[in-house]
């Protein structure tokens, strides 16, 4: 049974239909990419999973239907969604942001337990703990929001365009951490990306979303060889 499954999900923003029947799965322990151009509906798909957008269709997580769940309850089930724009609390300190990552599991205890582990991946965060999150650089902010998501030991990590606006070295570092987490801790990841190269490099399987539907799907190798994908998303 897959950890996450979407079946025929349709979502709309008012009168505009953004998703026209999207189906995908993420197995436990997998890294899966969701690729596509701007406006294809990638962000909407993640929001459909976390319950932040009106939708029809099935969304099951760990065998339970979460189609009618509000974002707060989806989070409680162990889905960590790092949204577009990182969703940090700019006015709060780095430390407070991290603490909020533990909120979903009971802040005090969880944070005490998990902080050392997370700081192990991002050691520089400790030195900056009292800095206002909004004053960090773009790359640092992305790292912080990833760290925050990891504090709650989620079952599924969802990343929305983590590479957006970041320098290539930072992007490599970030995906390196994601790959490591998947390998070492078996963390399941669903990554939404425009940067198909780096995403396919980090994932086992991928889907390509075009105008609200899945156009292509398969293993990363298959997609890398797929002519249409190569031309449109990989640039060669």
């Amino acid at each position: 049974m897959p950890l996450l499954e979407l079946r025929d999900v349709e979502a709309r923003y008012g009168a505009i239909r953004a998703l026209h029947g999207v189906s995908l799965t993420v197995e436990e322990g997998e890294v899966v990419s969701l690729l596509g151009a701007n406006g294809a509906g990638k962000t909407t798909t993640l929001r459909a999973i976390s319950g932040a957008v009106r939708k029809t269709g099935d969304v099951t997580f760990d065998g339970k239907s979460i189609a009618r769940h509000a974002p707060e309850s989806v989070a409680r089930l162990g889905v960590a969604h790092v949204p577009e724009g990182r969703g940090l609390f700019g006015e709060l300190t780095v430390w407070d942001n991290l603490r909020m990552g533990a909120y979903v599991r009971g802040e005090r205890k969880t944070f005490k337990q998990e902080a050392p582990r997370v700081l192990g991946y991002f050691p520089w965060l400790e030195a900056r703990k009292h800095q206002q999150a909004g004053t960090l650089s773009g790359g640092e902010q992305q790292m912080l929001s990833l760290a925050r998501a990891l504090v709650s030991r989620p079952r599924l990590l969802m990343l929305d365009e983590p590479s957006l606006g970041l320098a290539p070295t930072v992007v490599r570092e970030l995906f390196g951490i994601v790959k490591h987490l998947n390998a070492e801790e078996g963390l399941s990841v669903l990554v939404v990306e425009q940067n198909a190269n780096i995403a396919l490099d980090a994932s086992a399987r991928a889907y390509v979303l075009e105008v609200g539907t899945i156009a292509v799907s398969g293993t990363s190798d298959e997609l890398r060889r797929h002519e249409g994908v190569r031309k449109s998303y990989l640039g060669y």
Binding site: A70, E72, F89, D96, M100, Y103, S152
Partner: protein
């Protein structure tokens, strides 16, 4: 000099009351993005409840604390029933809603308790102390202490508790908080509850001086609104500093500027305030609004 300090001290006392109500306004503004024009009436209503409790035999401090509890519940209930349906509606709609609450509460207060002015005792004795040639009234000191203690307690709550942290996140970025498991609706309701508590404190501290009548807090609301905007409408620190500052300024204006007299105290204070805002639109501690296109 002594006279000057005296004015400053009594100004601080009224300023503390403004600060409490201003903080309530800022709390709600940060959470719900709206100026709660009925904050004053909520304070008046809860102060009347305190009066009723004491009228029925309860002594001051138990009545005070019980009123705070009732105020909290009232604030939560108000947010859940009246404000919640208007969550994403335009600003002008919510302004009218808070005005509707203002009108309804004002009328209800008069209806339930009658419009005659009542007296409300201060818990502090009507004594004065001489410190360095300055006469300080115990009531003034007591008022300032109670208001500031409430403010500090609230600050501590927000700073040191998990719930406080969650409320702060919900105010800063509600969408992201949801993704972290925060029940934002609940946070808003609690915010309104705390604002109601602040209002109740302000009302009970003001009542001995301004006497209890349904329109009692209307003027205080204006000062509190002014203080909140002066301090920066999204800054809790600004609200407190703004309130204290405004209290002192108004007192000094009334005492030292002949032109002002008693009628023009409020207008002059407001004029100074608006001048300050024109120079620095975001207020003393506010963040300049970045307009996103």
């Amino acid at each position: 000099m002594a006279a000057f300090l005296q004015q400053v001290v009594s100004g601080l006392a009224s300023g503390a009351i403004f600060a409490s109500l201003a903080l309530a306004l800022v709390l709600i503004y940060r959470a719900t993005d709206v100026i709660n024009f009925s904050q004053g009436e909520m304070a008046t209503f809860t102060t009347y409840i305190a009066w009723s409790l004491m009228d029925n035999g309860l002594s001051y401090w138990p009545a005070f604390l019980l009123t705070l509890g009732i105020a909290f519940c009232g604030g939560v209930a108000l947010e859940r029933t009246v404000i919640r349906p208007f969550e994403n509606k335009p600003e002008i709609t919510i302004v009218i809603v808070t005005i509707g609450i203002l009108i309804a509460l004002n009328a209800a207060t008069g209806w339930i308790w009658g419009a005659e002015v009542k007296s409300f005792d201060s818990p502090f004795p009507n004594t004065t102390h001489e410190i360095g040639g300055v006469t300080i009234s115990t009531v003034d000191v007591g008022t300032t202490v109670v208001c500031l203690l409430t403010v500090i307690a609230l600050w501590a709550f927000f700073r040191f508790t998990t719930l406080g942290l969650a409320m702060r996140s919900a105010a800063v970025n509600p969408a992201a908080s949801r993704l972290l498991g925060v029940r934002v609706g609940r946070m808003l309701a609690i915010g309104w509850g705390f604002a109601a508590v602040l209002g109740a404190v302000a009302g009970m501290m003001a009542a001995p001086t301004v006497f209890l009548d349904p329109g009692m807090m209307l003027v205080v609301l204006i000062y509190a609104f002014a203080a909140a905007v002066l301090g920066g409408i999204d800054s809790p620190v600004g609200a407190v500093v703004g309130g204290l500052l405004l209290g002192v300024i108004v007192n000094l204006l009334g005492a030292y500027v002949d032109f002002v007299g008693s009628e023009l105290r409020l207008p002059s204070a407001l004029a100074i305030l608006l001048l300050a805002l024109i120079i620095r639109p975001q207020g003393l501690f506010g963040h300049p609004t970045v307009r996103r296109v």
